[in-house]
Protein backbone atom coordinates (compact mmCIF):
# COMPACT_ATOMS: atom_id res chain seq x y z
CA UNK A 1 0.00 0.00 0.00
CA UNK A 2 1.58 3.33 -0.99
CA UNK A 3 2.60 5.67 1.81
CA UNK A 4 3.34 7.96 3.42
CA UNK A 5 2.85 6.13 6.67
CA UNK A 6 2.47 7.48 10.19
CA UNK A 7 2.89 5.84 13.59
CA UNK A 8 0.75 6.44 16.66
CA UNK A 9 2.00 5.20 20.01
CA UNK A 10 1.29 5.59 23.70
CA UNK A 11 3.28 8.30 25.45
CA UNK A 12 4.95 5.63 27.60
CA UNK A 13 6.32 3.87 24.52
CA UNK A 14 7.57 7.16 23.11
CA UNK A 15 9.35 7.92 26.39
CA UNK A 16 10.89 4.43 26.52
CA UNK A 17 12.18 4.78 22.95
CA UNK A 18 13.59 8.23 23.64
CA UNK A 19 15.58 6.83 26.57
CA UNK A 20 17.36 4.20 24.45
CA UNK A 21 21.12 4.61 24.10
CA UNK A 22 23.25 3.81 21.09
CA UNK A 23 24.86 0.81 22.80
CA UNK A 24 23.20 -1.56 25.17
CA UNK A 25 26.52 -2.20 26.88
CA UNK A 26 27.29 0.00 29.84
CA UNK A 27 29.11 3.27 29.30
CA UNK A 28 27.25 4.92 26.44
CA UNK A 29 25.09 7.94 27.05
CA UNK A 30 24.50 8.82 23.41
CA UNK A 31 20.74 8.80 22.70
CA UNK A 32 19.68 6.43 19.94
CA UNK A 33 18.53 8.64 17.07
CA UNK A 34 15.47 7.90 14.99
CA UNK A 35 16.49 6.27 11.68
CA UNK A 36 16.78 8.64 8.71
CA UNK A 37 13.54 9.11 6.83
CA UNK A 38 11.36 7.90 9.68
CA UNK A 39 8.89 10.65 10.64
CA UNK A 40 8.26 11.56 14.26
CA UNK A 41 5.47 9.46 15.76
CA UNK A 42 2.17 10.86 16.93
CA UNK A 43 1.88 10.39 20.68
CA UNK A 44 -1.31 9.95 22.65
CA UNK A 45 -2.42 8.68 26.02
CA UNK A 46 -5.69 7.43 24.52
CA UNK A 47 -4.32 4.07 23.37
CA UNK A 48 -5.26 1.30 25.80
CA UNK A 49 -2.62 0.15 28.26
CA UNK A 50 -2.66 -3.49 29.39
CA UNK A 51 -1.66 -4.17 32.97
CA UNK A 52 1.66 -5.79 33.83
CA UNK A 53 1.67 -9.61 33.89
CA UNK A 54 4.01 -11.54 36.17
CA UNK A 55 7.50 -10.26 35.37
CA UNK A 56 6.44 -8.50 32.16
CA UNK A 57 5.85 -4.74 32.08
CA UNK A 58 2.57 -3.13 30.98
CA UNK A 59 1.92 -3.27 27.25
CA UNK A 60 0.21 -1.19 24.60
CA UNK A 61 -0.05 -1.13 20.82
CA UNK A 62 1.64 0.91 18.11
CA UNK A 63 -0.44 1.72 15.05
CA UNK A 64 1.30 2.25 11.71
CA UNK A 65 -0.93 3.19 8.82
CA UNK A 66 -1.33 5.16 5.63
CA UNK A 67 -3.58 8.06 6.66
CA UNK A 68 -4.74 8.72 3.11
CA UNK A 69 -6.36 5.26 3.16
CA UNK A 70 -8.37 5.96 6.30
CA UNK A 71 -11.53 8.03 6.15
CA UNK A 72 -13.27 9.93 8.92
CA UNK A 73 -16.86 10.91 8.25
CA UNK A 74 -17.93 14.16 9.82
CA UNK A 75 -21.64 14.56 10.20
CA UNK A 76 -22.82 17.99 9.10
CA UNK A 77 -26.28 19.49 9.03
CA UNK A 78 -28.82 18.54 11.68
CA UNK A 79 -26.50 16.27 13.68
CA UNK A 80 -23.28 18.22 13.15
CA UNK A 81 -20.66 18.92 15.79
CA UNK A 82 -22.54 21.41 17.88
CA UNK A 83 -22.33 23.71 20.84
CA UNK A 84 -25.76 24.45 22.29
CA UNK A 85 -26.67 26.86 25.06
CA UNK A 86 -29.88 26.40 27.06
CA UNK A 87 -31.04 29.27 29.25
CA UNK A 88 -34.53 27.92 29.85
CA UNK A 89 -33.68 27.20 33.51
CA UNK A 90 -32.12 30.56 34.18
CA UNK A 91 -35.27 31.98 35.72
CA UNK A 92 -36.03 29.12 38.09
CA UNK A 93 -32.55 27.82 38.89
CA UNK A 94 -30.13 30.56 37.84
CA UNK A 95 -28.38 27.98 35.72
CA UNK A 96 -27.26 27.83 32.12
CA UNK A 97 -26.69 24.55 30.31
CA UNK A 98 -23.94 24.21 27.73
CA UNK A 99 -23.90 21.10 25.58
CA UNK A 100 -21.31 19.90 23.10
CA UNK A 101 -21.72 16.97 20.78
CA UNK A 102 -19.75 15.36 17.99
CA UNK A 103 -20.96 12.77 15.52
CA UNK A 104 -18.47 11.01 13.30
CA UNK A 105 -17.63 7.69 11.68
CA UNK A 106 -14.44 6.02 10.61
CA UNK A 107 -13.35 3.20 8.36
CA UNK A 108 -11.18 2.08 5.50
CA UNK A 109 -11.74 -0.08 2.44
CA UNK A 110 -8.05 -1.00 2.71
CA UNK A 111 -7.61 -2.58 6.15
CA UNK A 112 -4.26 -3.97 5.07
CA UNK A 113 -3.00 -0.36 5.11
CA UNK A 114 -3.11 -0.56 8.92
CA UNK A 115 -0.49 -2.45 10.92
CA UNK A 116 -0.97 -3.08 14.61
CA UNK A 117 2.14 -3.87 16.63
CA UNK A 118 0.66 -5.66 19.62
CA UNK A 119 1.99 -6.02 23.16
CA UNK A 120 4.75 -3.44 22.96
CA UNK A 121 6.43 -3.00 26.33
CA UNK A 122 5.24 0.24 27.93
CA UNK A 123 7.09 0.56 31.22
CA UNK A 124 6.33 3.45 33.56
CA UNK A 125 9.04 6.07 33.84
CA UNK A 126 11.01 5.62 37.07
Amino acid sequence: MPGPYVAIMHSRVDTALSLLKEFTTAGSNVPLARPAGVPAPFVTSQLPLAAAKESKPPASDILVYAPQRVTVLRRVGVDAAQVLVDRSEEFSKDSVLIKGRVRAGQGTPYPQAIVRLKNVASPPVE
Binding site: V6, F42, R74, E90, R101, V102
Partner: protein, 161 residues
Protein backbone atom coordinates in the same frame (compact mmCIF):
# COMPACT_ATOMS: atom_id res chain seq x y z
CA UNK B 1 -18.45 32.28 19.21
CA UNK B 2 -18.39 33.38 22.83
CA UNK B 3 -20.27 36.54 21.94
CA UNK B 4 -22.87 34.37 20.21
CA UNK B 5 -23.20 32.23 23.33
CA UNK B 6 -23.68 35.30 25.49
CA UNK B 7 -26.19 36.59 22.98
CA UNK B 8 -28.66 33.80 23.71
CA UNK B 9 -31.54 35.51 25.55
CA UNK B 10 -32.59 34.23 28.96
CA UNK B 11 -35.23 31.52 28.71
CA UNK B 12 -34.15 30.39 25.26
CA UNK B 13 -32.26 27.44 23.86
CA UNK B 14 -30.24 27.98 20.75
CA UNK B 15 -28.06 25.94 18.46
CA UNK B 16 -24.94 28.03 17.91
CA UNK B 17 -23.45 25.98 15.14
CA UNK B 18 -26.15 25.96 12.48
CA UNK B 19 -27.71 28.67 10.42
CA UNK B 20 -31.49 28.48 10.40
CA UNK B 21 -32.73 32.03 10.31
CA UNK B 22 -31.66 35.66 10.11
CA UNK B 23 -30.14 37.29 12.07
CA UNK B 24 -28.00 34.34 13.02
CA UNK B 25 -24.46 33.35 13.73
CA UNK B 26 -22.10 33.14 10.77
CA UNK B 27 -21.72 29.90 8.82
CA UNK B 28 -18.14 29.43 10.05
CA UNK B 29 -19.48 28.47 13.45
CA UNK B 30 -20.45 25.08 12.09
CA UNK B 31 -16.76 24.12 12.19
CA UNK B 32 -16.05 25.85 15.51
CA UNK B 33 -16.27 22.80 17.74
CA UNK B 34 -14.49 20.57 15.23
CA UNK B 35 -11.59 23.04 15.06
CA UNK B 36 -11.55 23.24 18.85
CA UNK B 37 -11.13 19.49 19.33
CA UNK B 38 -8.76 18.83 16.43
CA UNK B 39 -5.51 19.67 18.33
CA UNK B 40 -6.38 16.98 20.89
CA UNK B 41 -7.19 14.27 18.36
CA UNK B 42 -3.99 12.74 16.97
CA UNK B 43 -5.87 10.60 14.45
CA UNK B 44 -7.21 13.76 12.79
CA UNK B 45 -3.77 15.36 13.02
CA UNK B 46 -2.18 12.36 11.31
CA UNK B 47 -3.73 13.37 8.00
CA UNK B 48 -6.69 11.04 7.56
CA UNK B 49 -9.22 12.07 4.95
CA UNK B 50 -12.23 13.86 6.39
CA UNK B 51 -15.47 13.76 4.45
CA UNK B 52 -18.58 15.71 5.37
CA UNK B 53 -21.94 14.01 5.08
CA UNK B 54 -25.55 14.64 6.04
CA UNK B 55 -26.43 10.93 5.79
CA UNK B 56 -26.27 8.06 8.25
CA UNK B 57 -23.67 6.36 6.08
CA UNK B 58 -21.66 6.77 2.90
CA UNK B 59 -21.23 3.99 0.33
CA UNK B 60 -18.50 3.47 -2.24
CA UNK B 61 -18.22 0.83 -4.96
CA UNK B 62 -15.28 -1.47 -4.33
CA UNK B 63 -13.42 -3.61 -6.84
CA UNK B 64 -13.38 -7.12 -5.37
CA UNK B 65 -12.34 -9.24 -8.35
CA UNK B 66 -10.11 -8.65 -11.37
CA UNK B 67 -10.50 -9.18 -15.09
CA UNK B 68 -8.69 -12.29 -16.30
CA UNK B 69 -5.95 -11.99 -18.92
CA UNK B 70 -4.20 -14.91 -20.61
CA UNK B 71 -2.30 -16.00 -23.75
CA UNK B 72 -4.43 -16.98 -26.75
CA UNK B 73 -3.40 -18.36 -30.10
CA UNK B 74 -4.50 -16.57 -33.20
CA UNK B 75 -8.09 -17.22 -34.26
CA UNK B 76 -8.85 -18.76 -30.87
CA UNK B 77 -11.81 -17.30 -29.02
CA UNK B 78 -10.91 -15.09 -26.06
CA UNK B 79 -12.78 -15.92 -22.89
CA UNK B 80 -14.80 -13.04 -21.58
CA UNK B 81 -14.23 -11.94 -18.02
CA UNK B 82 -15.70 -9.17 -15.95
CA UNK B 83 -14.46 -7.46 -12.84
CA UNK B 84 -16.60 -7.98 -9.75
CA UNK B 85 -17.72 -5.14 -7.57
CA UNK B 86 -18.72 -4.95 -3.97
CA UNK B 87 -19.85 -2.11 -1.79
CA UNK B 88 -17.98 -0.45 1.01
CA UNK B 89 -20.24 1.24 3.53
CA UNK B 90 -18.99 3.63 6.16
CA UNK B 91 -21.57 4.41 8.86
CA UNK B 92 -21.74 7.50 11.04
CA UNK B 93 -21.63 6.42 14.68
CA UNK B 94 -23.69 7.62 17.62
CA UNK B 95 -23.00 11.11 18.89
CA UNK B 96 -20.50 11.80 21.67
CA UNK B 97 -22.03 14.34 24.05
CA UNK B 98 -21.13 16.36 27.10
CA UNK B 99 -23.34 18.62 29.20
CA UNK B 100 -22.28 21.36 31.59
CA UNK B 101 -24.53 23.20 34.05
CA UNK B 102 -23.13 26.56 35.08
CA UNK B 103 -24.33 29.32 37.32
CA UNK B 104 -25.72 32.18 35.27
CA UNK B 105 -24.11 34.70 37.62
CA UNK B 106 -20.73 33.01 37.40
CA UNK B 107 -20.91 33.02 33.62
CA UNK B 108 -21.55 36.75 33.61
CA UNK B 109 -19.20 37.86 36.37
CA UNK B 110 -16.25 35.44 36.46
CA UNK B 111 -12.70 36.53 35.74
CA UNK B 112 -11.14 34.68 33.97
CA UNK B 113 -14.15 34.23 31.78
CA UNK B 114 -15.90 31.02 32.82
CA UNK B 115 -17.59 30.58 29.45
CA UNK B 116 -14.20 30.54 27.74
CA UNK B 117 -12.88 28.00 30.24
CA UNK B 118 -15.93 25.76 29.82
CA UNK B 119 -15.85 25.96 26.03
CA UNK B 120 -12.13 25.21 25.86
CA UNK B 121 -12.53 22.28 28.23
CA UNK B 122 -15.45 21.00 26.16
CA UNK B 123 -13.15 20.97 23.14
CA UNK B 124 -10.42 19.11 25.04
CA UNK B 125 -12.72 16.47 26.50
CA UNK B 126 -14.65 15.83 23.29
CA UNK B 127 -11.37 15.76 21.35
CA UNK B 128 -9.78 13.20 23.67
CA UNK B 129 -12.91 11.07 23.70
CA UNK B 130 -13.15 11.17 19.91
CA UNK B 131 -9.46 10.23 19.71
CA UNK B 132 -9.95 7.27 22.05
CA UNK B 133 -12.89 6.09 19.95
CA UNK B 134 -11.07 6.55 16.64
CA UNK B 135 -8.17 4.50 18.03
CA UNK B 136 -9.85 1.77 20.06
CA UNK B 137 -13.58 2.37 20.17
CA UNK B 138 -15.59 -0.60 21.35
CA UNK B 139 -18.90 1.01 22.27
CA UNK B 140 -21.94 -0.58 20.64
CA UNK B 141 -23.10 1.74 17.88
CA UNK B 142 -19.93 3.78 18.26
CA UNK B 143 -16.87 4.14 16.09
CA UNK B 144 -15.09 0.83 15.38
CA UNK B 145 -11.60 2.16 16.11
CA UNK B 146 -8.44 1.51 14.10
CA UNK B 147 -7.35 -1.31 16.41
CA UNK B 148 -10.61 -3.21 15.87
CA UNK B 149 -11.07 -2.92 12.10
CA UNK B 150 -11.34 -6.41 10.59
CA UNK B 151 -8.52 -7.39 8.27
CA UNK B 152 -5.74 -5.16 9.59
CA UNK B 153 -2.24 -6.61 9.81
CA UNK B 154 -1.03 -7.59 13.26
CA UNK B 155 2.45 -8.30 14.59
CA UNK B 156 2.75 -9.59 18.15
CA UNK B 157 5.75 -8.09 19.95
CA UNK B 158 5.13 -10.15 23.08
CA UNK B 159 8.38 -12.05 22.73
CA UNK B 160 10.31 -8.78 23.04
CA UNK B 161 8.79 -7.90 26.39
Amino acid sequence: MLDAMRGVPAGEERDLTRVTAVPVEPQELSTYLWDLLRPFTVVLQSGVRTIDTQRKSVKWPQLTGDITADYYDELKPITESDPTFGEFELPVAKAIKALVRASAEALEDSDPDLLTVVTQNLGVILGLKLDAELLAGKTSGGITGLLNIAGIQEVDMNSNR
